[in-house]
């Protein structure tokens, strides 16, 4: 959304970011001195137990909320996708995408043309006139992706976007996300609680500790693309990461 200081090698930089909700004895520390740097075009997955502040991190990067301490630098525009498609139910699929273009001040004629292109990219050409409730869960999430792409962002924040989809639909959307992020050289911060999904998609998997959220360990994923979520190398690395997560959870007595 906003361009802060731009570091040459980093699209998103969090430096010692802490976030505390509330005050006094009722205060909850969601994030504790999180530092993380994401290179342009890198696909980074954030994983951790619920309540580890994953979503908080994305909200902070998106500028929806301000950190209590530390600094966040983002180079370029930011778009965000949520677990729910969050489409506007009073607009058609096409109009939802078009509104994102309009919010950026794109002119009417160009809007129409770009909306068509974006719907084609997410394989929904011909569905522009449908309303969100007439589409399936996966198609709605595709429209949300098209809307995010319409914001012409350099950084795409995704908060468990496929968490509510069935496994088959999710696999298909993984393939498409691969294709689209590679084509557009998008920097992605992807939050999930599904370890295999993180390994399937990420160039790097960042494991966060439970409340307060801290960076516990980072796992580079060196499995060549295209990957399959049920392939042996993916399962193996996912196993390692799951062990690390278990260790952390038992430490918290959860």
């Amino acid at each position: 959304m906003t361009t802060n200081t731009v570091t040459e090698t980093s699209a998103v930089t969090l430096a010692g970011v802490s976030k505390v909700y509330g005050r006094g004895p009722a205060a909850v520390q969601a994030l504790d001195k999180v530092s993380l740097s994401v290179a342009p075009g890198e696909f980074t997955c954030l994983i951790g137990a619920s309540g580890c502040g994953k979503s908080t991190m994305l909200s902070l990067v998106a500028g929806l909320d301000k950190p209590t301490a530390g600094s966040i630098a983002v180079s370029g525009r930011v778009a965000m996708m949520f677990q729910e498609p969050a489409l506007f139910p009073w607009l058609t699929a096409g109009a939802n995408v078009e509104l994102a273009l309009r919010a950026r001040g794109v002119g009417r004629v160009e809007r129409r043309q770009r909306t068509g292109e974006l719907l084609d990219i997410v394989q929904l050409g011909g569905f522009g006139a449908k309303r969100p409730h007439e589409l399936s869960g996966g198609m709605r999430q595709r429209v949300a992706l098209a809307r995010a792409l319409a914001q012409d962002a350099d950084v795409l924040l995704m908060d468990e976007p496929f968490g509510a989809l069935d496994a088959m639909t999710r696999d298909v959307l993984h393939d498409e996300l691969d294709r689209i992020t590679a084509e557009r050289n998008l920097t992605v911060l992807f939050v999930t609680h599904n370890v295999r999904e993180a390994v399937r998609l990420g160039d790097r998997v960042v494991v966060l500790s439970s409340r307060p959220g801290r960076v516990l360990e980072e796992f580079p994923v060196e499995i060549p693309q295209p990957r399959r979520i049920d392939s042996a190398p993916v399962a193996e690395l996912a196993g390692q990461i799951t062990d690390r997560l278990r260790e952390e959870m038992s430490r918290h007595g959860e």
Partner: protein, 293 residues
């Protein structure tokens, strides 16, 4: 079985087709429209009302047959005949015209004022604290209590009646808008914020459309209050040479004409149901567009 075919096709389709996965099943069985469906829908909407009217007429006829207050209690037949006679004179139609005119003008003014107040109160926090509960207080105040105030302030004329209608409807309309704005989904607001909607465009493209269903409910309630206020006003504020439904009722009371009064009440009842039906249709069409119906 079209959905079945498409499922098979999608299952065989290469990855990357929009309708792949179990998702395809989600789209199964969306009904299409047709002319006979419209006729069926109209009939389905129509027959319960016919049944209700039949029940009312039946009970009414039973009371008549029981001989309760036989000298003055109007029977169904004579009352409907009375209504027919009145319909043949110009006065009833003139009264209906005058009453509906007051209703429409008063309701329109109430919408403008209600939106203005509702919009300001929902945007400005201080106003909310100061005026919010006042609006609800006004809403609960019976409009008939305002009649002396209106009559003394404006005199016995149409302005006094309009004042009552506006006062009856505006608080509900304002409250509808405020509640609608309050209930705008936080998730949609987040989505709007990341899209870069802010200020006026945030209101135009997100908050106002999002609050439309609750706003329409407020309009419907506002209309009910307006209609009651209007009847109270017309019954009590008699304007010279300006026949209204309320005034006709008042005349019938003075002449001890229970049959005539009942005939007018039927007219009032029918208008009320008709307008309620309009709001119901608006509400339904919104819910259908949103996928809530």
């Amino acid at each position: 079985m079209a959905s079945n075919d498409s499922w098979v096709a999608d299952g065989a389709a290469p990855a990357g087709t929009a309708l792949a996965g179990l998702d395809a099943l989600d789209l199964a069985g969306r009904p299409g429209g047709g002319r006979w469906r419209l006729a069926l829908r109209l009939w389905n909407a129509f027959w319960p009302k016919v049944l209700a009217i039949g029940l009312v007429l039946g009970v009414w006829e039973l009371v008549t047959l029981s001989g309760y207050k036989k000298e003055i209690f109007p029977g169904t037949g004579p009352t409907l005949a009375d209504l027919w006679d009145q319909a043949k004179t110009g006065t009833l139609w003139e009264a209906i015209g005058n009453t509906l005119q007051s209703a429409v003008i008063g309701f329109a003014v109430a919408i403008v004022i209600g939106c203005l107040i509702g919009g300001l109160v929902s945007r400005i926090y201080v106003l909310r604290a100061a005026v919010g509960s006042l609006i609800t207080g006004l809403q609960t105040m019976p409009s008939i209590a305002w009649v002396p105030f209106a009559a003394l302030l404006f005199g016995n004329n149409a302005s006094a009646i309009l004042f009552l209608v506006v006062l009856g409807a505006a608080p509900s309309i304002a409250n509808g808008l405020i509640t609608g704005v309050d209930y705008t989904s936080p998730l949609l607001l987040k989505a709007g914020a990341t899209m870069g909607l802010r200020g006026l465009s945030l209101w135009r493209h997100l908050i106002l459309p999002a609050s439309l269903p609750v706003f329409v409910a407020g309009l419907k309630q506002g209309w009910a209050f307006a209609w009651r206020s209007l009847m109270a006003g017309e019954l009590l504020v008699l304007v010279f040479n300006h026949p209204t439904l309320g005034e006709l009722l008042n005349n019938d009371q003075s002449l001890s004409d229970l049959q005539g009064a009942t005939a007018i009440m039927i007219v009032i009842f029918i208008i009320g149901i008709f307008v309620d039906g309009l709001f119901g249709a608006a509400d339904k069409s919104i819910r259908q567009r949103w996928g809530l119906a």
